[in-house]
C-alpha cells in the first residue's frame, strides 16, 4: 500500500510538472494576447517529433536544445503570419484558427512521419533505475524530467520577476495599451511570448516523447487536459496553473494506482445491485476506469461553481 502511494505520488509529480510546462506557456500567451491557443499541445507533439528526427542524426542531447528552439521559431512564425491576421476578426475567430491549426498539425505530422508510433527513446545514459523501493524501480529518466521541469520554472520565474523584459511582459499582461504607449514594441513582445510559450511546449514534448510514446494522437491526448488545467487554475494565473497541473497529475496517478471502485463502496455501504439493469455499469465502475475522465469532471464542476477558476482574478 505504502509503496503504491509513493510511486503514485512520484508519477503524479512527473505528469503534473510536465503538464505545467505546457500550461505555463498557454497561460502566458492567454494573459498577454487573450488567445486560448488550441494548438498548444500540437507544438508539444512537434517537439517530440522534431527531437526524434534530430536524435536519429545527433543523439538525444543536441535534440533536447534544437527541437524546442525550432518549435519556438515555428510558433513565432505562426503568430506573425497567421494569428496576427486573424486577430482583427475577434477572439472567437482566433480560437477557431488555433483549432484549425491543431487539426492541420496533426495531419501534417501524419504526412511527414506516418501514422505509426515512433521509436523515440530516452538516452542510454539515463536508462537505469535511479532507486529501487519495495522491489519497484524508479527510472532515472523520470527524475531527469522532474529536474528539467523544475529548472525551467526557476528560470521562467527569474526571467519574469528579475529581468527588464519580464517586467515589461508583466506590465503588458495587466495594461496592454500603456506598454505600447511607453514605446515598447508590443507586437514584437507578443511574437516573442508566443514563440517562448510554444518553445516550452516543444521542450515538454522532447522530454515526454520517450515516456508517453510519440504518435500522431499525442497532442489530442494531452491537449484538452492542458486546456482543462488553465481553466481550472483560473485563466491567466500562473500560480493557478501550477496548482491545477499538480492536482490533475496526482489525481490521475492516484486513481490509476488504486484498485478501489464502486463495488467496494457498495460493499462498504452494505448495498447490492445485482439485478440486470442498463445502469449496472455504473455500479461496477472502478477508479482506474474513470481516471481519464476525472479532469473533465473537475472542469465542469469548477466552471459551474467557480467560473473564474481556482485562482482566477478575471470576471469573464
Amino acid at each position: 500500500m505504502f509503496e503504491v502511494l509513493i510511486f503514485a505520488t512520484l508519477n503524479g509529480l512527473v505528469t503534473g510538472l510536465l503538464l505545467f510546462m505546457l500550461a505555463s506557456g498557454l497561460t502566458l500567451i492567454f494573459s498577454m494576447m487573450g488567445v486560448l491557443n488550441f494548438a498548444h499541445a500540437s507544438f508539444y507533439m512537434l517537439g517530440a517529433y522534431f527531437a526524434y528526427s534530430i536524435s536519429l542524426y545527433t543523439g538525444f542531447w543536441p535534440a533536447l536544445i534544437l527541437a524546442p528552439v525550432l518549435v519556438g521559431v515555428l510558433g513565432a512564425l505562426v503568430e506573425r503570419y497567421g494569428l496576427r491576421r486573424v486577430h482583427k476578426s475577434g477572439h472567437v475567430a482566433e480560437l477557431i484558427f488555433t483549432f484549425g491549426l491543431a487539426f492541420l498539425i496533426e495531419e501534417a505530422v501524419q504526412f511527414f512521419w506516418g501514422r505509426a508510433t515512433k521509436d523515440y527513446r530516452s538516452p542510454d545514459i539515463l536508462d537505469f533505475p535511479l532507486f529501487t523501493l519495495f522491489g519497484q524501480n524508479f527510472p532515472a529518466y523520470k527524475a531527469f524530467m522532474i529536474f528539467i521541469s523544475i529548472a525551467i520554472f526557476i528560470a521562467l520565474y527569474f526571467v519574469l520577476t528579475r529581468t527588464r523584459i519580464g517586467i515589461i511582459i508583466q506590465a503588458a499582461i495587466t495594461h496592454p495599451h500603456t506598454v505600447g504607449n511607453l514605446g515598447h514594441n508590443v507586437p514584437l513582445i507578443f511574437m516573442a511570448v508566443f514563440g517562448v510559450g510554444t518553445g516550452l511546449a516543444g521542450l515538454a514534448g522532447v522530454i515526454a516523447g520517450p515516456v508517453l510514446t510519440t504518435f500522431p494522437g499525442m497532442a489530442m491526448v494531452l491537449g484538452s487536459i492542458v486546456f482543462v488545467i488553465v481553466v481550472i487554475g483560473g485563466l491567466g494565473s500562473l500560480a493557478g496553473a501550477l496548482v491545477a497541473s499538480l492536482l490533475i497529475g496526482l489525481l490521475q496517478s492516484y486513481a490509476i494506482a488504486s484498485d478501489l471502485g464502486m463495488p467496494d463502496l457498495l460493499n462498504w455501504l452494505g448495498v447490492s445491485f445485482e439485478r440486470d439493469h442498463p445502469l449496472n455499469d455504473i455500479w461496477r465502475l472502478t477508479l482506474p476506469q474513470i481516471a481519464p475522465i476525472l479532469p473533465y469532471l473537475l472542469l465542469v464542476l469548477v466552471l459551474i461553481f467557480r467560473p473564474s477558476g481556482l485562482f482566477g482574478k478575471r470576471e469573464s
Binding site: 486573424v86 477557431i96 495531419e107 442498463p278 455499469d281
Partner: protein, 407 residues
C-alpha cells in the same frame, strides 16, 4: 413571396436529385449531405446566431443517435410499434433533454467559459461512453436494423434510396423549422444576446434564458440529425459523439459561413462532397481539408457564403462584368500553383516509383520531375502575384458607386 418560391424550389430540387444521381455511391452521399445539413444548421443556431462557441456539439448528435438505435432495437424486439420514419424524432427529443440538462448550467455565460464547458462535457461524455457499455456498446458501438416495424406507404427502408426520401423530408422540415425560428422573438433575441448580452438584459431579457432556448433547440435538431444517422447507418459508435465529430461540424459551419442562414448548408454540402470525392482519390484529403480550413479562417472570415455575398454590391451596381476577366486571369495561375503544390505533396508521399497525377506521369524520385514541378510552381506563383494588383483595382472599381458614369 420570393422567400416562399425559394422554399418550393428547394423542395423540388431535393425531390429530383436522385433522378440525376442514381448510383449507389451518389445516393449514399446525398444521405450524408442531408444529415450533415441538419447537424451544421443546428450548430449554427449556437455559434452563428447565438454567439456560443461549442466544442462539444457531437454530444447531442451522438446521444440522439444512440437513443434512436435503441429505439430501432426496441421496434425490432417488438417492444414498440411505430414507423421508422419517426425515429429521428426520438433522437431529437433525447437531444433536447440532454441539452436541457447540460444547458441549465452551461449557458450562464457565452464566450470562453461556455466554450470550455462544452469541451469538458464533450470529453466527459465521449469518455464515459466507453465505460458505460450497456448503453453505448463500448468500442464496437450499438447496431440496429431499420427494416422492422410497420411499413410506411409500402416503404420498408431496405434500400438507401428509400432512406434518402426519409432523410430529405426530415431535412426539409428541420431546415424550415430552424429558419422560422430565426424569425421569432426568441430567435431574434438570440442575435441580440450574441451581439451584446448586457444590453439585452436592459431591454427585459435574461441573456441566460435566451441562450438556453437556443441551446435546447439546437440540441433538438442535432438529435434529429443523430436519429437520421442512426436510420442511415444503423450503427452508432463512440466516434459519433467525440471531439472529432464536434470539430467536423464546426468546420462545416465555419467554412460555409456563420453569418448567413444558408452558410452551414453550403458548408455541409461542400465538405461532404470533398470528404467523399477527395477521399476517393487521395489518402491525404484530411491534410488538404486542414489547410483549407486554416486558409478560410485567415482569408475568408465569413466563409464561402460571405465570399459570394461580397459580390452583392457589384451585382446591384451592375458592374459584376468588370470582375470576370481579372478573376480568370488570377484563378488560372492560382489553380496551377495549388495543383503543382498538391502534386509535390502527393509525389513526396507516394511510395511507387512511377507517380501519375492528372494524367501526367512522373518519376517520384527523379530530379527532373521535381525540377519541373518546382519550376511550374514558381512560374505560376509569380504570375499569380503579378495578377493581383489588377484584381484589386477591378474590385475597387466594381464597388465604387459613381465612377463608371461620370468618366
Amino acid at each position: 413571396m420570393f422567400k416562399f418560391a425559394v422554399w418550393i424550389i428547394f423542395a423540388i430540387v431535393i425531390v429530383l436529385l436522385p433522378q440525376f444521381f442514381t448510383s449507389l455511391l451518389s445516393v449514399s452521399i446525398l444521405n450524408q449531405m442531408a444529415i450533415a445539413i441538419v447537424f451544421a444548421l443546428s450548430y449554427n443556431m449556437l455559434l452563428g446566431q447565438g454567439g456560443m462557441l461549442s466544442f462539444g456539439h457531437a454530444v447531442y448528435f451522438g446521444l440522439g443517435g444512440f437513443m434512436a438505435v435503441h429505439a430501432l432495437l426496441g421496434i425490432e424486439d417488438g417492444d414498440y410499434f411505430f414507423s421508422v420514419t419517426l425515429i429521428p424524432l426520438v433522437g431529437g427529443l433525447f437531444g433536447l433533454l440532454a441539452a436541457l440538462f447540460i444547458g441549465s448550467f452551461s449557458t450562464h455565460k457565452a464566450g470562453t467559459v461556455f466554450a470550455m464547458i462544452s469541451l469538458g462535457v464533450g470529453e466527459l461524455i465521449a469518455a464515459s461512453s466507453l465505460i458505460l457499455v450497456s448503453f453505448f456498446g463500448g468500442e464496437a458501438g450499438v447496431s440496429g436494423d431499420r427494416t422492422y416495424g410497420p411499413t410506411f406507404f409500402g416503404y420498408d427502408f431496405a434500400q438507401d434510396i428509400q432512406v434518402y426520401y426519409l432523410a430529405a423530408a426530415w431535412m426539409f422540415i428541420a431546415t424550415l423549422a430552424m429558419y422560422l425560428f430565426t424569425q421569432t422573438p426568441a430567435g431574434r433575441m438570440a442575435n441580440a444576446v450574441r451581439d451584446n448580452p448586457e444590453r439585452a438584459e436592459f431591454i427585459g431579457y435574461s441573456a441566460r434564458r435566451v441562450r438556453l432556448i437556443s441551446f435546447v433547440m439546437s440540441g433538438f435538431f442535432a438529435g434529429i440529425a443523430g436519429g437520421l444517422f442512426a436510420v442511415n447507418y444503423e450503427i452508432l459508435t463512440e466516434q459519433n459523439l467525440n471531439a472529432v465529430t464536434s470539430g467536423n461540424v464546426l468546420l462545416m459551419a465555419y467554412i460555409g459561413g456563420l453569418g448567413f442562414f444558408i452558410g452551414p448548408i453550403i458548408g455541409a454540402v461542400v465538405l461532404t462532397l470533398m470528404n467523399s470525392v477527395l477521399s476517393h482519390y487521395t489518402t491525404l484529403w484530411m491534410l488538404y481539408l486542414g489547410i483549407m480550413f486554416v486558409l478560410t479562417v485567415m482569408f475568408l472570415p465569413n466563409g464561402l457564403t460571405g465570399f459570394l455575398m461580397m459580390h452583392r454590391t457589384p451585382w446591384h451596381l451592375g458592374k459584376i462584368r468588370l470582375l470576370i476577366k481579372p478573376y480568370i486571369v488570377t484563378s488560372i495561375p492560382g489553380a496551377v500553383f495549388a495543383l503543382s503544390l498538391v502534386a509535390m505533396v502527393e509525389m513526396a508521399h507516394s511510395s511507387e516509383a512511377e507517380f501519375v497525377f492528372l494524367g501526367a506521369s512522373f518519376n517520384s524520385s527523379g530530379i527532373v520531375s521535381w525540377g519541373v514541378l518546382i519550376a511550374i510552381a514558381l512560374g505560376s506563383f509569380i504570375a499569380l502575384r503579378r495578377s493581383l494588383p489588377a484584381l484589386r483595382e477591378a474590385w475597387a472599381q466594381a464597388n465604387a458607386i459613381d465612377s463608371g458614369e461620370q468618366k
